[in-house]
């Protein structure tokens, strides 16, 4: 009997020791992985900054692009146009669709699962495929040509999954008790959604929109075949429009302006970093506002 207890104890001690050693190995591994991720991220940013920032000069910000100044200003402006237009198309659809899925559809409705499956599928498709689709569908079939509009429509489809995922999550985070509070005061469903649910989830929705914006800033493959590569500020939505990421692609393809390419990348990275920072900040603010509820 005693012996058995003794054996049991030794086994336990051995287990503990083993546990401890695997534990410390695991902690070193995860720590190293985390460090690697940070190092790679910071490394890339620093490298591009070192390569690019010294070559930033005023000629890179001239209104008209020429092969001498390789100005990024038209591309930067087009990117902003592209951003606004894509969000204008995708946000209303994405938010309205999410409201339907979260607030109106019955939980047992198989349609919810189908839509969410589609969302996951859409987010897994490589952007070049979106580009090919857009080129066949919007550019050729609808005859929109290489234009800001074709590009924005293609990007809207691409960012719809991001917007729908974040919006659905934000809506679900609004406690049921808050909706009940509104219904209990005699407010209808739509009134409750517009005045209680949406304002409470606005932070999440905005941070999703900003994530989507980051995607738009960085997208080149989907735009080359849909918005074209013309390096001029587009005057209307049917004009072709080279965005920053496409601009970088074009410049690096030509191979003559490697410094300017880095300088332009540096500007793009700064813009994207600011966007992501903003997303985090807004998310934090919205969490602080609802944490007591």
């Amino acid at each position: 009997m005693n012996k058995e207890i003794h054996i049991q104890k030794t086994v336990e001690i051995a287990k503990k020791k083993k546990k401890k050693s695997t534990h410390s190995i695991a902690s070193v591994l995860v720590w190293a992985s985390a460090l690697l991720v940070v190092a790679v991220g910071i490394g890339i940013v620093i490298y591009i900054m070192i390569q690019g920032v010294p070559y930033l000069n005023s000629s890179l910000f001239e209104w008209n692009y020429s092969s001498e100044n390789v100005s990024m200003l038209p591309a930067l402006i087009n990117t902003i146009f592209m951003l606004i237009l894509s969000l204008l198309i995708a946000l209303p659809i994405g938010i309205a669709g999410s409201i339907y899925l979260v607030e109106y559809a019955k939980k047992s409705n198989p349609f919810i699962r189908i839509v969410n499956l589609m969302i996951d599928t859409l987010s897994g498709i490589p952007s070049i495929v979106y580009g090919l689709f857009g080129s066949l569908f919007f550019v050729k079939f609808f005859g929109m040509g290489l234009s800001l509009l074709s590009g924005a429509l293609t990007l809207s489809i691409m960012i719809l999954p991001i917007i729908m995922n974040t919006t659905q999550e934000a809506l679900r985070e609004v406690p049921m008790s808050m909706r009940e509070g509104s219904y209990g005061l005699g407010a209808g469903k739509l009134h409750t959604i517009l005045h209680v649910v949406l304002p409470s989830s606005l932070g999440g929705i905005i941070s999703g929109a900003i994530l989507a914006a980051g995607r738009i800033f960085g997208e080149s493959a989907a735009l080359i075949f849909t918005a074209g590569t013309l390096a001029a500020v587009s005057g209307n939505i049917m004009d072709p429009a080279r965005t920053m990421a496409v601009h970088l692609y074009a410049l690096s393809q030509e191979g003559l302006y490697i410094h300017e390419t880095y300088a332009s990348s540096a500007v793009l990275i700064i813009v994207v970093l600011i966007m992501n920072g903003l997303a985090g900040l807004i998310k934090k603010c919205s969490e602080r506002n609802t944490i007591h509820g």
């Binding site: 406690p175 808050m178 509070g181 005699g186 005045h195 304002p199 409470s200 506002n289």
Partner: protein
Amino acid sequence: MDKIEIQDLDLFYGNFQALRKINLRMKAHEVTALIGPSGCGKSTLLKSINRMNDLIENCHIEGKILVDGKNIDDEDVNLLRKKVGMVFQKANLFPMSIYDNVAYGPKTHGIKDKKRLDEIVECSLKQAAIWEEVKNDLKKSALALSGGQQQRLCIARALAIEPDVLLMDEPTSALDPISTAKVEELILQLKENYTIVIVTHNMQQALRIADQTAFFLQGKVIEFDRTQKIFNDPKEKKTRDYITGRFG
């Protein structure tokens, strides 16, 4: 005529019958307490009176509830809920300012005039005995208030739509004794103007504030009488066992 009349009410969640043949009558300007162990159906009954159970899928109701002699199923649900206000177990204020929380109801029902809204907000906060504590902070977030204050603000919010009936679902269960005393005092004042139905786990509370009390067990009303009668001389053995703490 009784303010609220519940006739032969059966309520089902899917196949589960949560309420069985409930018959209760509530007079205007009286407080009715619904007591009983957890899961006995008292909150479910409360939520039937302003049709909050409509929100639950698979919930099916037979029998009738009359408010002012009218079947509540024939009324517009939003107007019913304006007439039959509700205070929930946990304070569920909106993430807005104190003012906007109280003004939400009246605004919903079409009151836009700023002066009128100011009056309603002040009057409701005074009725809920919280005006003195918040009158200088109306623009501050309601979520920054203490638990007891939040619950009284919920009462103010419910009063702002000028209901006739006030349903309260264990309004003090999350509050400390001092806040509880304040809310109870408030309920006794409010019954001058409102008909109150309150679900409570606290039997002493029922004894302190209720004119009549219904004792629930497993979806049935075991006994329904004046509160003094229920607590001093209950007819049913189960009622006596429950109020003397022998079970539940």
